[in-house]
């Protein structure tokens, strides 16, 4: 379902030297699998997920989605792909400040022409599932880290994606909430969603179908 060929991403600071964030990554991820990328800080997990998830473009190599090479896609086509297929959970939540939880969750629905009422209902449903039914009208500043993370997860789910990409979904969160989030991702997998997680958290290896160990921008 997702396949990469010789995927590279490097950042050049000056003309002399460049940082290879990821280098020559070849992975194949099959549909409805739970994949975990594990590795020390700076090993390139975030970069790899961003490139596979169309948020960033590789410097070299190819990404295939459903057998189709998406690397040459235009920004517009990539945005459409994200809207229809992919939900992101970011390392540091990335909620929009001063918006309430439900508004944050429903934000991706705005440009799809979905009316206020339906947006609210759909966001409410998801937030209730996350156990945040009583926090619908709280802004992200008024939520704890774990609550913010759950809002971010709800937002990732609002477009019913086929792929969930989660970057350190439990790193800023207490143990109890981590367990909940793992269970939630597992449940999504059971419903046919493909899940990609980057994490230090060893607990994820227990629920994962595949674990890729990363170091210095490579997969071991």
């Amino acid at each position: 379902m997702i396949r990469t060929e010789h995927l590279c991403k490097s950042y050049s600071h000056s003309s002399q030297y460049e940082i290879r964030a990821i280098y020559d990554i070849n992975v194949t991820i099959s549909k409805n699998s739970f994949v975990v990328f594990n590795g020390p800080s700076g090993s390139g997990k975030t970069t790899l997920l961003n490139v596979m998830g169309t948020l960033d473009r590789p410097t070299a190599g190819k990404v295939f989605l459903y057998g189709e090479e998406i690397t040459p896609f235009s920004d517009i086509a990539l945005a459409r792909l994200r809207r229809e297929k992919i939900g992101f959970i970011f390392q540091d939540f990335h909620l929009i400040p001063r918006l309430t939880s439900w508004e944050n969750v429903a934000y991706p629905l705005v440009p799809r022409g979905i009316g206020y009422k339906e947006r609210f209902e759909r966001a409410k449903l998801l937030l209730e599932k996350m156990g945040l039914g009583d926090r619908l009208d709280h802004t992200s500043e008024e939520l704890s880290g774990g609550q913010q993370q759950r809002v971010a997860i709800a937002r990732a789910l609002i477009n019913n994606p086929e792929i969930i990409i989660a970057d350190e979904p439990t790193s800023n969160i207490d143990e109890e909430t981590s367990v909940q989030i793992r269970e939630l991702l597992n449940e999504l997998k059971a419903r046919g969603v493909t899940i990609l997680v980057a994490t230090h958290d060893a607990m994820f290896e227990k629920v994962a179908d595949v674990v890729f160990k990363m170091k210095n921008g490579r997969i071991l």
Binding site: N50, L55, D56, R57, D75, I76, A79, R80, R82, R83, E84, F88, F90, H94, L95, I96, P97, R98, L99, Y107, P108, V110, P111, R112, G113, I114, G115, Y116, R155, A156, N159
Partner: protein, 382 residues
């Protein structure tokens, strides 16, 4: 359709959410636009009134010419002019300026039979005997003059006048500070006998060029000047264009200061904005949708700013009598008694100021628009 409505509502919410920025940008817009709208309104108002009085006036204006300026015409040719074929009426006038204490008054002397019908008094009557005058509303209010009161005035001669009537308050600005008297009284006041500052000639339509030839025969050894209605109104229009030009020059300076302010204000909170756009794009917003949202925000804010600016200029004109701006268009305004400033808020300048505001704010948001359309979500979210 739904999508655009959604974006419009969201744009409104965003303006409320970024309240501080909205207020700052709005204030900048108001500061830039409202003097401009006020100036145009006053200029249009004064010009409009001048043109109305020109149009209601005579067909030909005759004066002498001294050093290229209008000079007084002797009355000895009056009968000859009256005899020209096509001339229906000849009205000699004296129009001068004098001070009633410290206030400037426009003194108009005219024969009683020549008083135009359009002139109406609010109280009292027109002058009938010598030393009787009708005064403008603003002068009367300023000096607490009532009909029957006497006052003295000095130009070349000192004369005592009796107020017999007061002009209505809705007369033009020129009427507001006018002292209207008989031709003979005005001549005595200025110490000039047998001359008029100009002679108005009313004619039958289509005879003006023949009349001009006949006038040339009469005045061929004098330096005289004959102007017709079109020319006079052209002068009026030109005069206002010049005044508007002077105002614009001042304005450009103010403007040059205002534009950077708006750019800075628009850039205010840019990093937060950038991050927001990154999040939007990461969660499936198309670049075009982001741009539409940004444009709608600018549209709303310019609409808001321009509307407030227009309301403020109305207030400026009505309550503060166009302070600081009116003197560009009526030089003597500080010497005149306070009068109702004529102002016309035409739709075109208002519309223009709205577009102008939109342009400014769009320029202000060029950077975030450009970033949002070129950078990848990851870069924006950093």
């Amino acid at each position: 359709m739904n999508k655009h409505l959604n974006l419009l509502f969201l744009a409104t919410e965003n303006l409320l959410r970024h309240r501080a920025k909205t207020v700052v940008v709005c204030l900048c817009l108001i500061a830039i636009l409202s003097p401009f709208i006020t100036a145009i309104a006053i200029s249009e108002g004064v010009r409009g009134q001048s043109l109305i009085s020109v149009n209601a006036g005579a067909d030909l204006y005759l004066t002498y010419d001294e050093f290229g300026r209008n000079a007084a015409v002797p009355l000895k040719y009056l009968d000859e002019i009256k005899k020209i074929f096509g001339v229906t009426r000849v009205v000699p006038r004296i129009i001068g300026r004098g001070f009633l204490q410290n206030k400037l008054a426009i003194i108009v002397g005219i024969n009683q039979e020549d008083v135009p019908e359009s002139i109406s008094c609010v109280s009292g009557r027109l002058f009938e005997n010598s030393h009787e005058v009708v005064v403008g509303y603003e002068l009367a209010t300023h000096f607490h003059l009532k009909t029957g009161d006497q006052f003295s005035m000095r130009c070349q001669q000192r004369k005592v006048f009796t107020v017999v009537g007061i002009f209505s308050s809705d007369s033009s600005i020129w009427g507001a500070s006018m002292i209207f008297m008989s031709f003979r009284d005005a001549g005595e006041l200025f110490g000039k006998q047998d001359v008029a500052t100009d002679i108005q000639i009313h004619t039958l339509p289509g005879h003006n060029s023949e009349i001009a030839t006949d006038l040339y025969d009469i005045f061929q050894h004098e330096a005289y000047r004959l102007q017709d209605k079109q020319m006079v109104s052209l002068y009026v229009k030109k005069g206002f264009m010049l005044k508007e030009g002077i105002f614009s020059a001042f304005y450009v300076v103010a403007f040059a200061l205002g534009v950077p302010a708006i750019l800075v204000a628009s850039g205010f909170g840019l990093s937060e904005r950038k991050k927001e756009i990154g999040i939007m794009k990461a969660t499936g917003w198309q670049t075009l949708e982001v741009l539409e949202l940004i444009s709608m925000e600018q549209l709303l804010i310019s609409f808001l700013g321009a509307t407030i600016a227009i309301l403020l200029s109305v207030l400026w004109v009505k309550s503060f009598n166009g302070a600081f701006i009116a003197q560009f268009f009526i030089a003597e305004i500080t010497m005149l008694p306070r009068f109702t400033l004529p102002a016309r808020f035409l739709p075109l300048p208002c519309l223009l100021s709205f577009f102008f505001a939109f342009l400014l704010t769009m320029v202000g948001s060029v950077y975030s628009s450009w970033r949002s359309s070129t950078a990848s979500p990851v870069v924006l979210m950093k």
